[in-house]
């Protein structure tokens, strides 16, 4: 764990370490805890790595890099037996005598070896490598890959800084008893957070327009795509507010390209009217909603799963929507692709719902596979349009879906309206058209979309005595907990990531599984068990127990294990 104040660069240290281990084929999970301020306060960044899959935060620290005194005060007691604190007594302005502490003069070493204080973080990374007695080669390679565009000199100085840290640690460390297992097989791994995985997924799903107003924890997507727009055929616009953002995305989609917007719960509030507009005009749009503890501004940089029922039911009137709640960055990537596909196929809004915990957590993962992505352009372009005698934007069809046409691509007019409209898109007042439009827009599509939703994934024995359900980011922690408990008890996990409309049971009768379990539990990061209630609304099923956490922090492995133990 790296701890310190905002602005001290702990994220950089953490990310470099994580990426490094991933490249070395270790499984890595990292998680950030930070305050809503730019300098000062207390933040920390946790990196776990292992030879076997890991996917959540847990108690206990092996190596603590303390960039300030507060870090020592708050986290010293969390050290595992054999754990170690490394710090720079000059920076922390305190000298600790206990053998648990290793004083590494980050700053001084940086100045000596690299001629600049700025490289003290690289010294720290090097020190960690030294403590673990690990080869410096991979780190050197990573530094080179990262800094080469800034010049060979910067690379060399960073490498020197890393080496100084490593040498110092190896030399002075008295308690360095870490035995680092060999990494798993399978070659180097990617290292990626949940939000960026969504952004990457969007880019690789043909997203060509992104408009947003900055808001934690969604800004990462805006930043990633803005950078991508320098290289790729993509327009990214920072809107004046969230209302503009969603209306822009809808406008772009109407004009003929795949479009997306992103925000957090509070910004989504301002998009609710636009959501309804997308529903009425049958305009595909993808919306990323990052969840943070609310109501209102709440804890801007922390985590919660408190917006599920809100997002499921937001907006006046009745229309279909798709909601995806990925459990890992890899799921985030693939489900974003599915969201784009379903949004365009059925001409509905599709929402990616993710909490800050997953959005900001960086994970190692095997290379994402583009061959698994679906890309179909469902729109009518000039060629197809020119063959049509007539075109009606909202024509009644068997499926309820009327092909989208690109306005201006042919002589056919593309007319749509937020008022109730006829097949051509013009305003009407009559009951008959209304009924047919509700059937087209809502009822027919709903059934088809439901059948597209993949069932939850089950991990566990065939007839578990205890069954834990969860959704979204809790895949990791519940998964590890269940694995931990599996020796002693019959326990399984049911994880939902395609959550609305709730998947049918044809492919996999998950309701049967629930009904058959002796003890059913629903675990969520909120206070009112929103997912359990959603399940009850749609199926009547009631869980025996509910586990909730609502302090703005994610579940920790040990905590979940304790609660699930039979």
């Amino acid at each position: 764990m790296i701890g310190g104040q905002a602005g001290q660069g702990l994220q950089t240290i953490g990310s470099v370490l994580g990426k490094l281990f991933a490249r070395m084929s270790y499984q890595v999970f990292s998680h950030q805890d930070y305050e809503s301020r730019i300098r000062g306060g207390h933040n920390f960044y946790q990196v776990r790595f292992s030879d076997s899959p890991i996917s959540c935060s847990r108690r206990g620290i092996d190596i603590l890099i303390a960039l300030d005194k507060t870090t020592v005060q708050r986290h010293e007691h969390e050290l595992n037996p054999g754990g170690l604190v490394i710090y720079d007594s000059e920076a922390v302005k305190e000298k600790y005598e206990s053998p648990v502490f290793l004083d590494v003069p980050f700053r001084q070493l940086a100045e000596e070896a690299a001629g600049s204080r700025l490289m003290e973080n690289t010294v720290a990374v090097g020190a960690v490598m030294g403590i673990m007695g690990m080869d410096l080669k991979p780190l050197e390679k990573l530094l080179s890959d990262t800094f080469l565009r800034k010049g060979q000199d910067i690379v060399d100085r960073n490498v020197a800084a890393a080496k100084a840290g490593s040498d110092y640690a190896e030399k002075y460390c008295e308690r360095c008893e870490f035995t680092v297992t060999e990494p798993g097989e399978g070659g180097r791994l990617m290292f990626l957070d949940g939000a960026t995985a969504v952004a990457l997924g969007a880019l690789l799903s043909g997203c060509r327009f992104y408009a947003a107003y900055p808001m934690t924890p969604s800004t990462g997507i805006l930043t990633y795509l803005a950078a991508a727009s320098k290289k790729h055929s993509l327009v990214v616009e920072q809107a004046e507010d969230e209302i503009a953002a969603i209306n822009m995305a809808i406008g772009a989609s109407y004009a003929g390209v795949r479009a997306m917007t992103g925000t957090a719960g509070g910004g989504f509030a301002l998009m609710v009217e636009g959501l309804s507009l997308a529903g009425m005009t049958e305009t595909p749009v993808v919306i990323y909603v990052g969840m943070r503890p609310a109501p209102a501004t709440g804890f801007p940089t922390r985590t919660e799963q408190g917006d599920l029922l809100y997002v499921t039911h937001a907006a006046h009137g009745e229309f279909p929507r798709v909601i995806m709640a990925p459990g890992t960055p890899a799921e985030a990537f693939y489900l974003t692709n599915k969201a784009f596909d379903l949004a365009e196929k059925y001409q509905v809004p599709a929402i990616i719902l993710m909490d800050q915990y997953l959005a900001d957590s960086e994970w190692s993962l095997p290379e994402l596979e583009t061959s698994k992505l679906v890309y179909r352009d469902y729109r009518l372009r000039t060629e197809e349009l020119d063959t049509l005698k007539a075109y009606k934007r909202h024509e009644f069809t068997d499926s309820g879906v009327t092909p989208l046409a690109e306005p201006g691509a042919s002589r056919h007019l593309v007319v749509t309206d937020s008022d109730e409209h006829d097949e051509e898109g013009h305003i009407v007042e009559d009951a008959e058209t209304r009924i047919k439009m509700v059937e087209k827009r809502l009822l027919k599509k709903l059934l088809q979309i439901k059948s597209e939703m993949s069932p939850p994934r089950y991990y566990g024995p065939e007839r578990p005595e205890t069954l834990v359900a969860c959704w979204g980011s809790n895949l990791g922690v519940v998964g590890e907990a269940v694995k931990t408990l599996r020796d002693g008890q019959s326990i399984g996990m049911l994880h939902f990531n395609e959550i609305w409309p709730l998947p049918c049971m044809e492919e996999f009768d998950w309701m049967n599984l629930l009904d058959g379990a002796g003890r059913t539990i629903c675990l969520e990061n909120n206070a009112t068990s929103q997912f359990a209630r959603l399940i009850r609304m749609e199926t009547g099923f009631e869980f025996d127990e509910r586990i909730n956490r609502y302090d703005g922090r994610p579940f920790l492995l040990e905590e979940v294990v304790e609660k699930l133990r039979a």
Binding site: E240, D377, L413
Partner: protein, 284 residues
């Protein structure tokens, strides 16, 4: 070449005598004279009497939410800058509910034409004061008369350095048509604030009231590229009301500044996953 007939749409649901009829006429005539085809035009509109205009002619239409014409129009233009994009809005729509978008569209200088049907009243919702309603006007929701000062969209637009700022009047249909044409021909964001009588709810700013006040700005008396002069002229709204082009400049157009659409419109650019797949590598 398009003809007027090509622009015939649904039968309007406006009240007999409403200034919107003349506005519609000027609109159609302008498009015909500009040689724009209905399918070669995208009109975005809001909710209100104004917002119904595209239904009463023929064009690609996105009739969206109350107050939200400009974000939709902005994005459409960014995606397809090969198409002229017009936003038809009401005064409540654009200066009330949508005021923030108005400010930021001007800042961006997106090449969208904004035609505001400014009847100084909320028409469709039956006669509440709009941001441009005159101070003192009595309505059912302003029992003490309108207390805030009426918003002067033209002065505001000059202050925001909007690229093209004009005022027209529905009763002066031919002149209005010319203004619409000039707005269409201007490169950059263009506001035409169109004084429009509402025969049912605005008994103060009637057709007669406007007729007695509006005058044409003379080319030799006003230089629309002079921002301070424009501001001064913009403030005139009372006994006399100037109509015509009040201000213009040739600020860079937003979509011209985006390298990605420097050549083809975004919607015309081919997409292939191969072009972007390489980005995965950055995460090793």
């Amino acid at each position: 070449m398009p003809e007027l007939e090509d622009y015939r749409g649904q039968i309007p649901a406006w009240c007999p005598g409403c200034g919107n009829f003349q506005l519609l006429k000027a609109f159609k005539q302008a498009m015909v004279e500009l040689g724009v085809e209905p399918h070669g035009l995208i009109v975005v509109s809001g909710i209100g009497q104004a917002g119904k205009l595209p239904h009463y002619t023929r064009c690609n239409t996105f009739n969206g939410l109350h107050g939200r014409t400009l974000p939709v129009a902005t994005a459409i233009r960014l995606v397809n800058h090969g198409m002229p994009v017009i936003a038809e809005a009401g005064d409540g729509d654009c200066y009330g509910e949508g005021g923030n978008h108005f400010l930021h569209a001007m800042r961006r200088n997106i090449n969208v034409k904004l035609f505001v049907h400014d009847n100084q009243i909320y028409g469709l919702t039956k006669g509440q004061a709009s941001p441009t309603s005159g101070q003192g006007m009595m309505t059912k929701t302003q029992p003490f008369g309108v207390l805030p000062e009426n918003l002067n969209p033209v002065a505001l637009a000059v202050a925001m350095n909007a690229s093209f700022v004009a005022r027209g009047f529905t009763g002066d249909t031919d002149f209005l048509k010319e203004l619409l044409k000039r707005a269409m021909e201007h490169r950059g964001f263009a506001l035409v604030d169109i004084l429009q009588n509402c025969v049912v709810f605005n008994k103060i700013n009637t057709s007669k009231w406007y007729k007695e006040r509006v005058y044409h700005i003379k080319a030799d008396e006003h230089d629309p590229t002079d921002r301070e002069a424009a501001f001064q002229l913009a403030l005139e709204f009372g006994e006399r009301i100037p109509t015509g082009v009040i201000y213009r400049n040739d600020r860079p157009v937003f979509e011209d500044s985006l390298p990605v659409i420097a050549t083809d419109p975004l919607v015309k650019q081919p997409y292939s996953i191969e072009d972007v797949a390489g980005e995965i590598q950055a995460f090793f």
